[in-house]
């Protein structure tokens, strides 16, 4: 009885602070991984800061026209000779090109990647699976210049044919209109090359999430007489959808930042081109590589500014991806 009496009389206590004293070895390890975790943040902010400082002058001078303008003209060339007109820097056409080529890549690449992931996880026999997985991984490590050269020399002729077909039968869609009959080196071809480049990363993300589908749900579907395909539709795809969206966004980010392959394939022209089959376009990264070699000090600053805009664009895409993944992630899980 004494115990209950004491409980009854004591006032309600305030919650205690709960602490622990980690061992020295643990503290040491903790500081190492903390540095590792911090490093990517530090490097990223250093790059952003560098681009911001170097590009600040041009961005403030050009204002909003830097993003919306289509003209890129530097009056001072690398030798210091001055032209007669004032310099104009606008990356609008390149931004549009960046988004268009990246979207084409995602539209073409993601379905192929999802199909590949489903095949590897649910259909491929074991001996083939291991082999194909390493092929896909190898594709991810393949140098992008080789994709570019292959795209230019091998893919282009057939892509030109597909483009003509698309134009012939779907030209009522504004996207597939062509104002001049130039079908080579178009955003469409660049998009196809980019699609091939993003397939490995999207495939491996999709494969990873699909393989985590809970076995009990798969079995539940099969026990109800599901075919493999109806099981995948009812169980695997709802479960993996957010992961696929995340993988697609990773792919989009890579496609937007890709330089060499686009530079090799695309006919870089400073005009806003929404006709994806027409051989004119460009993206921000290819602009930088195109102009960097013979740029004057001023133009380099403008290129840095362009880099900053690309950086921000990538950041925004990733944030949107996070939002989508978090929102759709709870459903189906």
């Amino acid at each position: 009885m004494a115990i209950t009496e004491r409980q009854a009389s004591s006032p309600i206590p305030t919650p205690r602070e709960i602490t622990t004293q980690p061992r020295r070895s643990d503290q040491f390890f903790r500081s190492i991984v903390f540095l590792g975790g911090l490093s990517s943040l530090v490097i990223l902010s250093a790059i952003a800061l560098f681009l911001g400082i170097r590009g600040f002058e041009i961005i403030t001078r050009e204002g909003l026209k830097f993003i919306t303008g289509y003209e890129w003209y530097s009056s001072i060339n690398a030798d210091g000779l001055s032209g007669d007109q004032p310099s104009v820097y606008g990356i609008g056409a390149m931004l549009i090109g960046t988004i268009i080529t990246a979207l084409i890549a995602v539209v073409i690449g993601v379905p192929i990647a999802v199909a590949t992931a489903l095949f590897l996880n649910f259909y491929a026999p074991n001996f083939l699976k291991g082999f194909l997985v390493s092929v896909v991984d190898l594709m991810a490590a393949f140098p992008s210049i080789l994709f570019g050269l292959w795209g230019l020399n091998v893919l282009m002729p057939s892509a030109e044919y597909w483009a003509k077909l698309l134009h012939k039968y779907f030209s009522f869609v504004p996207l597939f209109e062509v104002s001049a009959p130039v079908f080579t080196r178009s955003p469409f071809v660049a998009g196809v090359v980019l699609a091939i480049m993003i397939i490995p990363i999207v495939t491996s993300v999709a494969r990873e999430v699909f393989s985590q589908t809970p076995l009990d749900r798969i079995q539940a579907a099969y026990a109800l007489g599901a075919t493999k395909w109806s099981m995948i539709r009812a169980v695997v795809l709802p479960f993996g959808s957010s992961g696929v969206v995340g993988g697609a966004m990773l792919g989009l980010g890579r496609a937007m930042g890709e330089t060499v392959a686009v530079f090799t394939v695309l006919n870089i022209v400073f005009q806003a081109n929404f006709q994806i089959l027409l051989g004119a376009g460009g993206n921000v990264a290819s602009l930088i590589i195109l102009k960097f070699g013979e740029a004057s000090a001023e133009e380099i600053k403008a290129l840095m500014a362009a880099g900053l805009i690309l950086f921000i664009l990538t950041l925004v895409v990733n944030m949107i991806a996070d939002l989508i993944v978090n929102r759709s992630g709870r459903q189906g899980r």
């Binding site: 079995q219 539940a220 109800l224």
Partner: protein
């Protein structure tokens, strides 16, 4: 177990239940296993099981963990083959036809032989109503009046009154016992002849267990039920026949099968008696 289990108490439970004998309910010919063996890789886990499940009866499979009961019922609806390296021998006859015969559409077998798993596994992306009718979509069956079927299945699974006002809620919002009854309702929607239940109550509290046992008894009016259970009182309460499995170092074998009251009152085999009296397992 909190309660003292003696053979006589289990026999009492078993004896107080009304029993059916095979063939009294005209539902077709039922399910038969003939000389079934099973392997995982080189590991022989199940040896020579022959067992008849007369239509309209409840058969309980009891035995210690690892004796092959679950493997056995998974051979009955061909869920066994999902495990890589799994192999089997023998025949499983449904209405006299071998379900493993070449050219058999396995999805049709699983429509006729439904299954309820140990852990409730509703589809979380679907509502309660969609979960019940999921089988129709999965198996691409046509159904003219889905609302009637939905209500019928939920009523038979004993869940209708609890969920009728929130059929659009997610399946995951239900309690564990309700989820398991939802899974039973889901199995019923494709109108199976046989329902296999793999320890359906082992993750549930006693109240939910009781509800499911009632459901099982009602279902057995119209279908054949095979249930794996570790709860011997449950076997005694709900089954017409009980089969005792045991793996003694080697592959699992069926030691004995008989009417439930006999298995619990006067088993023929000493090992069965030891198990049901709680001397091991």
């Amino acid at each position: 177990m909190a309660e003292q289990v003696t053979p006589s108490s289990l026999a009492g439970i078993a004896g107080s239940q009304p029993r059916k004998s095979p063939g009294t309910i005209p539902l077709g010919t039922g399910l038969e296993a003939r000389n079934v063996h099973a392997w995982f890789g080189k590991n022989h886990v199940l040896s020579d099981i022959s067992l008849d499940f007369a239509s309209g009866t409840v058969t309980a499979l009891i035995g210690p963990s690892g004796c092959g009961k679950s493997t056995f019922i998974r051979t009955l609806n061909r869920m066994h083959e999902f495990i890589p390296t799994a192999a089997m021998a023998g025949e499983v006859l449904l209405d006299g036809k071998d379900v493993y015969a070449p050219g058999t559409d396995v999805t049709k077998i699983r429509l006729k032989i439904g299954m309820v798993f140990q852990k409730p596994n509703p589809f979380p992306s679907m509502s309660i109503g969609e979960n019940v009718l999921a089988g129709l979509k999965l198996a691409q069956l046509k159904q003219s009046n889905k609302d009637d079927l939905l209500e019928e299945c939920l009523v038979r699974a004993g869940l209708w009154n609890e969920v009728k006002d929130r059929l659009d809620a997610h399946g995951g919002s239900l309690s564990g016992g309700q989820q398991q009854r939802l899974c039973i309702a889901r199995s019923l929607a494709v109108r199976p002849q046989v329902l296999l239940m793999d320890e359906p109550c082992s993750a549930l509290d006693p109240g939910s267990t009781l509800r499911i046992e009632e459901t099982i008894r009602e279902l057995s009016e119209t279908m054949t039920i095979v249930i794996v259970t570790h709860n011997m009182q449950q076997a005694a309460r709900i089954s017409d026949y009980t089969s005792f499995f045991l793996a003694d170092g080697g592959p699992g074998v069926m030691v004995e099968v008989g009417p439930t009251s006999e298995i619990f009152s006067r088993p023929k085999d000493q090992r069965t008696e030891n198990y049901v009296t709680g001397r091991f397992g």
